[in-house]
């Protein structure tokens, strides 16, 4: 349980406002991808974390799905302006996956099957903010939504939640991913409408 700081109240806040600026709510689940949906064979599936010093931590499908999982219910915000509330997932927290990783890196570059990449500060993967999800709405994650497994990082625009995730590379210096290197915002906070570079 968090410890209460005496006399701290915070700003007035309205919990009804769940829609970031410029977004509209949708109830279906649109599909957007940079390329064709890769076919990933579960026998060959692997998730790897590689540190800046070259150390590797990897899991195959059986190892990965036997890790303790969580079932977050989160809102999704896509840069194409739809938001979807209360989506239900099952996945492994990045806190667990990163717990024993020795690193002094500040950045992460996420790699997908199909060669998609996206970058983010390592801190954004920690503290209950990110999962590698492999079930959606009680079902196996469909390939068009990133199955067998995708990154889920709901506090950033959805292009950061890399589908068909394959691994995470930890880096001392930031390195732009696929969309970030063609003009999308490097960070992508929906609440600050960070859609494109310069926003």
């Amino acid at each position: 349980m968090p410890i209460v700081s005496r006399g701290f109240h915070g700003r007035a806040r309205d919990t009804q406002h769940r829609l970031p600026p410029g977004q509209y709510e949708t109830t279906d689940f649109p599909v957007l991808s940079a390329g064709p949906t890769p076919a990933v064979n579960l026998d060959e599936w692997e998730f790897t974390i590689r540190t800046e010093a070259g150390a590797r931590h990897s899991w195959n499908w059986a190892q990965f799905t036997s890790l303790p999982s969580q079932t977050p219910t989160v809102d999704l915000h896509c840069v194409t302006k739809w938001s979807k509330f209360d989506t239900e997932w099952q996945g492994v927290s990045l806190d667990l996956l990163l717990e024993d990783v020795e690193t002094s890196a500040d950045y992460a570059l996420v790699h997908s099957y199909g060669d998609y990449t996206t970058n983010l500060p390592l801190e954004d993967l920690l503290d209950g903010q990110a999962w590698i999800a492999y079930r959606y709405d009680g079902e196996e994650l469909a390939p068009e939504h990133g199955g067998p497994a995708r990154l889920l990082i709901p506090h950033l625009y959805l292009w950061k939640s890399a589908k068909w995730v394959h691994g995470i590379q930890l880096l001392d210096e930031d390195e732009r991913g696929f969309w970030e290197s063609v003009g999308y915002h490097n960070y992508g906070d929906p609440w600050r409408e960070q859609r494109y570079q310069g926003d």
């Binding site: 410890i3 109240h9 990783v101 002094s104 500040d106």
Partner: protein, 250 residues
């Protein structure tokens, strides 16, 4: 670059620790140094930062990042916080938090914007406003380990009342050269007219590029963009310029 004993298990970084305010010092009209006792603090490097979490009685919680101001010193951790007048967190930390009160702290974070005593090249520190804080940790670390590595500090600040660590920096620190730039109003008889940092400030108070110094630049995004751009234009290799930016985040 040496990389000894700086990695930490991310599991240790992840855990929030209780930090009890043990002391507070006035640093300027708008800044306070908060000295926390943090049981289990794993130590840190000069230049790293920590996250502070505040939680209200109704459960509302918010976090901010602050640079660590002190050299590593056991379980004692110092943050120097400048009040952002419309901020949510900094006015609470500078004005409300009293000795004995608790916040939560997580860290240290960051492995790039750090100075390690085993570095042998000359060092240029370029600070804008409260961007001095992580650079001060480097100055304090240098002193704490008795390093003779030559340091130069170029400190740009709005006006004297915003200046941090005044008396500590006034003391003689052999091998540390200090240059102050004022952007709005300077002390009486100050030789340089108030104004933004220029190439000539950095060439006269910094190092020649062929000395291959490592340059650390910290301040607002605008300041960092400007100062780092000037260093590159003066011939410093971009790979030897490390930057840390902050925006107003109270």
């Amino acid at each position: 670059m040496a990389r000894a004993a700086v990695s930490r298990r991310l599991g240790d970084r992840l855990s929030w620790k209780t930090a009890r305010l043990a002391d507070r010092r006035i640093e300027s009209d708008v800044a306070r140094t908060l000295v926390f006792e943090v049981p289990g603090w794993p130590g840190h490097l000069a230049g790293q930062h920590a996250d502070v979490r505040l939680t209200a009685e109704d459960g509302y919680s918010t976090q901010r990042s602050y640079s660590l101001a002190s050299a590593p010193d056991g379980e004692s951790v110092e943050l120097t916080v400048q009040r952002v007048s419309d901020g949510e967190v900094s006015p609470y930390l500078t004005d409300e938090l009293a000795v004995g009160d608790v916040v939560e702290l997580r860290g240290p974070v960051g492995g790039w914007f750090v100075w390690r005593p085993e570095q042998k090249e000359p060092i240029l520190l370029v600070a804008g406003g409260s961007g001095l804080v992580p650079l001060m940790a480097m100055i304090r670390m240098r002193r704490a380990v008795g390093s003779r590595t030559p340091f130069r500090l170029v400190y740009s600040v709005r006006s004297p009342e915003y200046q941090l660590f005044v008396s500590e920096l006034r003391r003689d620190d052999p091998g540390l050269d200090k240059t102050y730039l004022y952007t709005r109003s300077s002390p009486p008889q100050w030789p340089r007219p108030p104004g933004q940092i220029t190439a000539s400030d950095l060439s006269s108070a910094g190092w020649p590029p062929d000395f291959e110094p490592t340059c650390y630049v910290c301040g607002s995004t605008g300041f960092v963009e400007k100062a780092a751009g000037l260093l590159v234009a003066l011939g410093h290799h971009p790979g030897r310029i490390r930057t840390e930016r902050f925006g107003p985040s109270g």
